[in-house]
Symmetry: C2
Amino acid sequence: MTSSQKPRRSVTIKDVAKKAGTSIATVSYVFSNAERYLRPELRERVLQAAAEIGYVKNAAASSIKGKRRGILAVVVAQFGNTFFTRMCVEIVSIARQEGYVVTLCNSDEDPEQERIILERLVAQRIDGCILCPAQSTEDNTALLQRHRIPYVILERSFPESFAPHNFVGQDNFQSGYLATTHLLEAGHRRIAFSGWDSPIPNVRERVDGYRAALREYGVSPNQELVLTDELSEAAGRRMAGKFLAAGVTAAVLGQHDTAKGALQHFQDNNIHWPQDISLVVVGTPEWTGVLRPRLTCIQRPEHQMAVTAATMLLNNIKNPEVDLVKQLYTCTVAEGESVLRM
Amino acid sequence: MTSSQKPRRSVTIKDVAKKAGTSIATVSYVFSNAERYLRPELRERVLQAAAEIGYVKNAAASSIKGKRRGILAVVVAQFGNTFFTRMCVEIVSIARQEGYVVTLCNSDEDPEQERIILERLVAQRIDGCILCPAQSTEDNTALLQRHRIPYVILERSFPESFAPHNFVGQDNFQSGYLATTHLLEAGHRRIAFSGWDSPIPNVRERVDGYRAALREYGVSPNQELVLTDELSEAAGRRMAGKFLAAGVTAAVLGQHDTAKGALQHFQDNNIHWPQDISLVVVGTPEWTGVLRPRLTCIQRPEHQMAVTAATMLLNNIKNPEVDLVKQLYTCTVAEGESVLRM
DNA sequence: AATAAATATGTAAACGTTTCCTTCTTGTTT
DNA sequence: AAACAAGAAGGAAACGTTTACATATTTATT
């Protein structure tokens, strides 16, 4: 329809060189080597020619000769979890400042998917990767190591017995401890913990923190009040039903999907917080924003975590010999009105 | 520490060929051309050698000679919007089945960011793109067109005056019409609409639907009850305050961020739905799941939309000469308990 | 037995860049 | 005026693949 003269082949550096009446080397220098001195007039002429025929450098071709690929990846286990979405957004914006494009991937808690994703990323020869591993005892990072691709593990650490990695996450023990202490200080003694059956240590560490807090207040932890189940809202409902039946006065909702289910259970069964049960949620899921009374949440320094993960990775890319770092962040209480003082 | 013999250069097809005692062509055929017949034993030997030295094909290098790049992109305007997150997840899973890796990008409603992103994607010579344009009157797709990169526009259409594109979205007029009719049928007559000041036609079309429904029921639309404001929860709160002051009995919450703000306003001011105000939300934001009474929502066939967008793109990649398609989906009412019959 | 057809593998020229190194200008020093 | 240095640009070899084509081997056909 328009005046377009179908260029079957995409326009290359050669086309620009011909148009500008110069060599391909010069064109390459214009687009890739700011140091190299060229007569301003020549540089201008090349730019002009490129603009006219719509030249855009082929990143694949550059990367094959040059070393830098210009692509980072973030692989998360749950794309639906807004914590990860927020991390992704921040990481992307930092990476962009350094001229990287970021590929966002979702393993959906499936170690096999994760392996496939990492394999594809290695094939793309990405410059670096931030990985939040799927629930699993498997360590899929061998591929990255073999290809010397710098990476940072986010949020979920592998068991101590595994090889060391760059790591950024929250102190899960402290989260559990803090949540429980907050309830204990308000006078609660019969406190439930609901979490998630998971091979990853996060939830177990939170439970450890919960137990430690109880003991510190002279309460001996009751195994029946520590509930775990699969990762779903339905499971959250089930657990809520159970701990209500056990007659607790308070609960730590230790994982966001199951927490959502628990809250639905409360609302559907006319159970009010904090009158009927006091609540502390670990994390700050998106939906807490619309609930009243406001929920008391254990919040992580999300922005800081994203910045750290991104800069850790960028540093490691710039200097591959740098030592592995493990950065744990402490959480704080974001007070709402879901805890009743007894 | 381990027995690793630091391979400074990453392992290439040549290394495999040497190890397997064959030519590089054979190795290439093993990895890239399933048709080509090779003695099973030879094929096996190559695979074996590759596995031993940890060879992974360099996708960048393949793509420069071969045409297919193996990368698709999804560019959305609001990464925080769970509708888009859900679309992304589905699109990724479809694309993966066809062997594509998907780069997810967020323009954050900034046309300039969008341009930069598209430029980068063109530089990567992606095979195709699904784009939900940032709020803007600008059409950044020229870049994609010039480089003959197939693309599908998602959710937000450009004004009719623009060039035609592949398009998948909801029928916004119908959404607005449906939401309003639902309230009219319940007996409401004084109905507000809250939306978003936006250069994109989505909200305006919904308002048109709203007006058409009112007229059909003999109610003459009152300009004061159609509220728009910037895209934020605070704006949602403001608009809620205004339409409550105007004494409406019902409202259509036409955009999800502002809807969230409105709901916060209600809760903070002790306004109950459906007793004090009847509500219909256009869309099904994540947080509707935890609210009680349940909100009546206008839902789009999300799964279907994702499938259509992905297959439309894949078709267009396979056959670039295919005609442009415009696919509009009709929405349905997901009934909750937020509408009072009068 | 000679030839044709089919099978199996290898050679080498692309692909679009980057970058080392050479060449050509121009200006400065002697 | 000759010699040289610096400045500016280009030639051509890489990078890791793909693939058209050539070659070599085997099997089938006459």
